[in-house]
Amino acid sequence: MNYDRILNPAVTSMPPSGIRKFFDIAAEMEDCISLGVGEPDFVTPWDIREAAIKSLKDGMTCYTGNAGLPELRDLICRYYKERFGVFYTRAECLVTVGASEAIDLAMRALVSPGDEVLIPAPSYVSYMPCVTLAGGVPVAVPTTSANGFKMTAEAVKPLITPRTKAIILTYPNNPTGGIMTREDLLALSKAFEGTDIIVVTDEIYAELTYSGTHASFGALPGMWDRTVTISGFSKAFAMTGWRLGYALAPEPILDQMLKIHQFTMLCAPIMAQYAGIEALKNGFDTNFEEVRKMRREYNRRRNYLVRQFNSMGLTCFEPFGAFYVFPCIRSTGLTSEEFCNELLYGKRVAVVPGGAFGDTGEGFIRCSYAYSMDHLIEACRRISEFIAERHAKSEDYVHVI
C-alpha cells in the first residue's frame, strides 16, 4: 500500500516536534542530567490527590455534562474574577482535557480555510499545528530578547490583513519566560481597534509570575468581547498528568467550541474534575498557600539560574514568568541545535534548542528550573565546564594561526 498517497498531506507535511529528537537520545543516556522538562517537579498536593481517590471510592466513574461539573465551572469563574479580575459566568466556561484541547477547540471554532492567525515566535509548540489542522495559516510575529520577547502593536500591525482572524497571546511565555504587564497589553490592544480580531490568550503560567501579579487580557477595558481565555491546572497546581484545563469566552464563541468538544471528547475525566474542585476550594480557603510556596521555590531557582548563565557569558534576559530561562548561546559560535548536541554528548546535560519553538528561537536554549537545587547546581557545573573547554579550544586555535 502506498500510505503516502492515502494519508492527509496536511498531517504528513507537518514536522514532528523538535523536542522529540533530543528526548530519544537523552532518555537512553546514563547519568544524563536534564533541564528539558516543561512541567513542575512538585507532585500534585496531597489533598487534591485525596479528593480524586475519594471520588473513585464513591463510584464517580461516569461521564459528566459536556461542559464539565457545574461546581467546578463556578469555581473557575470565581477564581478568574478574584485572582485576575475577569468576569465570566458558568455558561461562559468550558472544562477541557488540558489547555491543549482548549487551544485546538478555539482554532477549530474560529478559523475558516485560509484565515490567518498571528502567533508570537518563539512560543509553545502546539499553536502552529493547531492552526494548520484547522485549515488556517499561521503567521509568526517575531519577538526579541531586546524587549523581553513581548508582542508589540508595532510588530503586529504590519502583519494584519483582511484575513487575520485571531491572534494568540501566550504570557508568561514558554520557552522565553517573558511576561506582559497590563501596560504592555494596553499598548498592544491598540492594534486591534477597528478590527474583529479575536485574541486567544493562553494563560496557563499565570500563577507563575514573579514580579507583580499576572495581567489578564480579558480584564482590559473593551477587550472582553474579543477575548478567549485559556488556562488549566497543569502548572499552577502541578497537575500535568490529570489533563484538566478550561476555556472562558463569550457564549457565541464558547457554544461552538462546546459542540466540537461534545462530539470529539465528550467530557474531561470525572476524577480530574473532582481533583480540580478540591484544588480551587482549598486554594480559596488557604489564600492559595500551596501555589505561593511553589512560586517562592521557583523564584529562588530562577534567580540562581539567571545569575549562573550570565556569569558563564551566556547572556540571559531576566524572565519574570513560567519556569524557563532562555539564555543566548550565540557567543559560542554554535547553532542552538549544535550547542544542545555537543552539550548532551560532551557533558550529558539535556537542554532544548530554541529553534524547536520557531525560527526566532534560534541562538537560544530553553532551560527549565523545575528541578531541585542540587540538580540545578550540578547542571550548571557541567555547562560552565563545557563553555570553559570551548573557550580554551578556540584560544588554541588562535595560537595556531
Binding site: 523536542i19 533530543f22 537523552a26 528539558g36 502546539s126 540562581y304 545569575r307 539535556a350
Partner: protein, 165 residues
C-alpha cells in the same frame, strides 16, 4: 517578595543546611557578604542554633538507637509554674526534646537510648522520681516513616519524562 531576608535564609537552610552562602546569595538575588552577615547575626542572637542531619537509621551499619515518646504529668510548682521542672528534665543528655503540651498531659519528652532497657531505666529511675512528676506513659517508636518532612526511605521520585514540551 514580602518575606524577610532572614526568613528566606532559614527556609533554604531548613531544606538543606549545607547550602553555601554563595548559592543562597544567588537564590535570593543578594551578595555572599550579606548572607554571611545575616547568618552570623542569627547565630549570635541564638536564632540559628545548630545545623543537623536527617538519617535513615535502618540503613546505618551501627546498632540502631531506640527512641521513645514519654507523656509526663506534673504538679506545677509555686511561683515557677512549669519552667523549673522542664529545666530539670531538659538537662538530661538522654532527653532529645521536651515540649509543654496542651491536653491530657503536661510534657512530651523525646528520649533516645542505645537499648530498650536503657530507656526504661531512664524513665523509672530518673524521670518518674523527679520532684513534681506525678505520672509517665512511655511509647516506644517502632519505625520511622517520615522525619522532618523527609519520607523514608528516600529514593529518586522524579517520574517525569526526560524532555517534555
Amino acid at each position: 517578595m514580602n518575606r524577610s531576608f532572614a526568613a528566606e535564609i532559614l527556609d533554604i537552610l531548613a531544606q538543606d543546611s549545607r547550602t553555601s552562602a554563595a548559592i543562597i546569595a544567588q537564590m535570593l538575588n543578594s551578595t555572599e557578604e550579606a548572607v554571611l552577615a545575616e547568618i552570623a547575626r542569627m547565630e549570635k542572637e541564638n536564632i540559628l542554633l545548630r545545623y543537623t542531619t536527617i538519617v535513615n537509621e535502618e540503613l546505618t551499619e551501627d546498632k540502631e538507637t531506640i527512641h521513645a515518646l514519654i507523656e509526663v504529668k506534673v504538679t506545677p510548682q509555686y511561683l515557677q509554674g512549669y519552667d523549673a521542672i522542664a529545666d530539670m528534665i531538659s538537662r538530661y543528655p538522654e532527653v532529645r526534646a521536651c515540649y509543654l503540651m496542651s491536653g491530657a498531659y503536661d510534657f512530651m519528652v523525646l528520649v533516645d537510648g542505645p537499648t530498650l532497657r536503657d530507656v526504661s531505666r531512664f524513665v523509672t529511675e530518673k524521670l518518674s522520681v523527679l520532684n513534681g512528676v506525678t505520672s509517665t506513659g512511655t511509647h516506644f517508636v517502632l519505625k520511622k516513616y517520615k522525619d522532618n518532612h523527609v519520607v523514608m526511605p528516600k529514593g529518586s521520585d522524579d517520574r517525569r519524562q526526560v524532555i517534555t514540551p
